[in-house]
Symmetry: C2
Amino acid sequence: MLRQPSSGYDVKKQFDTSLRNFWKAELSQIYPTLQKLETEGLLSSAKVDSEQGPQRVVYSQTESGKAELLHWLGDGPTVGTERIGFLAQTYFLAQLGDANKAIEFFEELRSYFAERLEALQAREAEWSAANPLYPDELPDHDFFPQLTLDCGIHRIAATLAWCDKTLTRLKQRQRSAA
Amino acid sequence: MLRQPSSGYDVKKQFDTSLRNFWKAELSQIYPTLQKLETEGLLSSAKVDSEQGPQRVVYSQTESGKAELLHWLGDGPTVGTERIGFLAQTYFLAQLGDANKAIEFFEELRSYFAERLEALQAREAEWSAANPLYPDELPDHDFFPQLTLDCGIHRIAATLAWCDKTLTRLKQRQRSAA
DNA sequence: TATCCCATGTAACTAGTTACATGATTCG
DNA sequence: CGAATCATGTAACTAGTTACATGGGATA
């Protein structure tokens, strides 16, 4: 995230815009982590006067930090560690003992994913409109981030379809039970 | 997870079989957590002699624990907290500066998801063969877990499609660059 | 004058991982 | 006889969250 030297505050903005679909972090985690990485020599800092507000602490990548990154990337994909809260809830939903509440749960889920999907598609449309090379001729440092957007769209569309299918099934069960 | 009174060891097995697609936990987290929940009155324990190995500590749900569960389920879906390691890597993959390594990364990813998809489909086939009511007439306490399996299949199929699409795009870029 | 954005952090806590430690029974 | 399974846990550590604390400048 330090291809351009950045402060903790900048890093937070990058999390909130570009990485929000697959990773989040709070400032209270970011600041100590940057300090720790600096003591480990993985990045370096410099103080810079800000145009408004207090002095900025700007961090840059070091050789050793770059090597660590390449090691992580070269070590193969990180998979199988995901924790999906709404599926954990789904698993136990029978214990509500209330078909209507289960349906409400899925309606809320559905509307969340519908909104996310629209947001991602809007983002894609913006990129596409702003850049005639979108998406396949983008330079690498834009192309790979674009892949994460594309993955988000695929996965959220699939999850939305599952919500719809589930709602149909739940309503059918309710009719059968009546 | 304590609809049937269970030991920490049993709970671990439930994580490894039924919940593995959306949540994992180690014994070293499970044992202390069960102890903590007991001190909070959310569950109760009893010692039972085992057929083999040491005495089992078997936990059961309490009224107060059940109430807590219902509260969590009634509070709406937990969303937007997922951390997806392979997308974090994808985002930074340009920094490898090596198109072949990026392709290898996605080939590894693809084969992982292909395998997972087969495993989930096999699981579904088993269930289906073993139970003539599968899936829509299952009783609630089997139906809702089945939904998590179905969601896994939808999402992994979508992710696999994205891997294939990405590989095609990466190979095309390589040709264009040549 | 109130709220938002800039910009930094610490403290207390909760969650989760990896490694260590023990010991019986069963199966190949 | 060795490995796997049953069964319990602790210790040390890393990761992450929530709440607290400060204060200037810009915008409505």
